[in-house]
């Protein structure tokens, strides 16, 4: 009962926060709503038994990436209320496109093949792995066995991103 309540709470927080990210006039307010959404999604991760990724979500997304966004907004002095939303026709188009996309996705989900997969037979196996290995071990096992090489390449990607960000954002030498 209490888990259902929290699931509903986090789901409403995530959905409302997402809508406010898109609809809010002030970029800083948008960013704060995005942080709210990310925290709510982290809560949903916990309820879906992905504890490790909930922690990563809070640390990497709500922590690091959002601070990066906030720094850039303040660095470029964009914290004013001048709206950057498109004209009325553009807004209607965007809402219609979003609604059509959601309708399509909901139709696919409504047909049942994917939701059946989500409620399928593997649940007991996954639960057993979670019981025996713990939340960290269950993720670490495939990560460091089957996906060792992609994991190492990720470190290379992050190094390239760091160097690239510095090169791009640096002031040209006079």
């Amino acid at each position: 009962m209490i888990t259902e309540f929290f699931f509903l709470l986090f789901a409403i927080m995530a959905a409302a926060g997402a809508v406010m990210v898109v609809a809010s006039k002030n970029p800083v307010a948008s960013l704060m709503f995005l942080v709210l959404t990310l925290f709510a999604v982290a809560g949903l991760f916990v309820l879906l038994e992905a504890h490790f990724l909930a922690a990563v979500q809070v640390i990497v997304y709500a922590g690091a990436i959002m601070v990066l966004f906030l720094f850039v907004i303040m660095l470029l002095n964009l914290g004013h209320d001048r709206s950057d939303l498109r004209s009325m026709a553009g807004r209607v188009t965007a809402v219609v496109a979003g609604a059509a996309l959601f309708a399509g996705l909901a139709t696919i989900l409504g047909r049942g093949a994917v939701t059946e997969m989500a409620g399928g037979m593997g649940a007991e196996t996954v639960r057993a792995v979670l019981e025996s290995r713990g939340a960290m071990g269950a993720v670490a096992d495939p990560l460091f066995r089957s996906y060792m090489v992609p994991f190492e390449i990720t470190s290379l990607l992050l190094l390239v991103a760091v160097v690239g960000a510095i090169v791009l954002a640096r002031r040209k030498a006079p």
Binding site: F7, A11, A15, A18, V19, V21, V22, L34, T37, L44, F45, L48, A50, F52, L53, V56, Q57, V60, Y61, L68, F69, V72, L76, L78, D84, L85, R86, G90, R91, A94, A97, G98, A99, L101, F102, L105, L109, T115, M117, A118, G119, G122, A123, V126, A138, V139, D141, P142, L143, S146, Y147, L157, L158, V162, G164, A165, I166, L168, A169, R171
Partner: protein, 101 residues
Amino acid sequence: MNIDFATAALYLGGFLFAVGVAGVLVRRNAILMFMSIELMLNGVNLTLIALSRTLGFEAQVLVFFVMAVAAAEASVGLAIIIAVFRHYEVVDVDRVTLLKW
């Protein structure tokens, strides 16, 4: 109960993705378009997590990689936005027309 959670999370993931798409279409500020892209990535992550309960932990590994790529993408993208701002003094994507045909 478990089935309900996963199904609801699938719908919510689809909703977050659709809102992100609408955000990219409706915003002109490049940073806010970026934030909408983060919303889309979160929708996909939520979908993967919902499916990982039955399909195994490989889906969670994939979410881990998505987060790493999102961090790299955000840092490089924001650096590009700063470089564009230095050049044009705006971050309005309608006014950055160098590559426009």
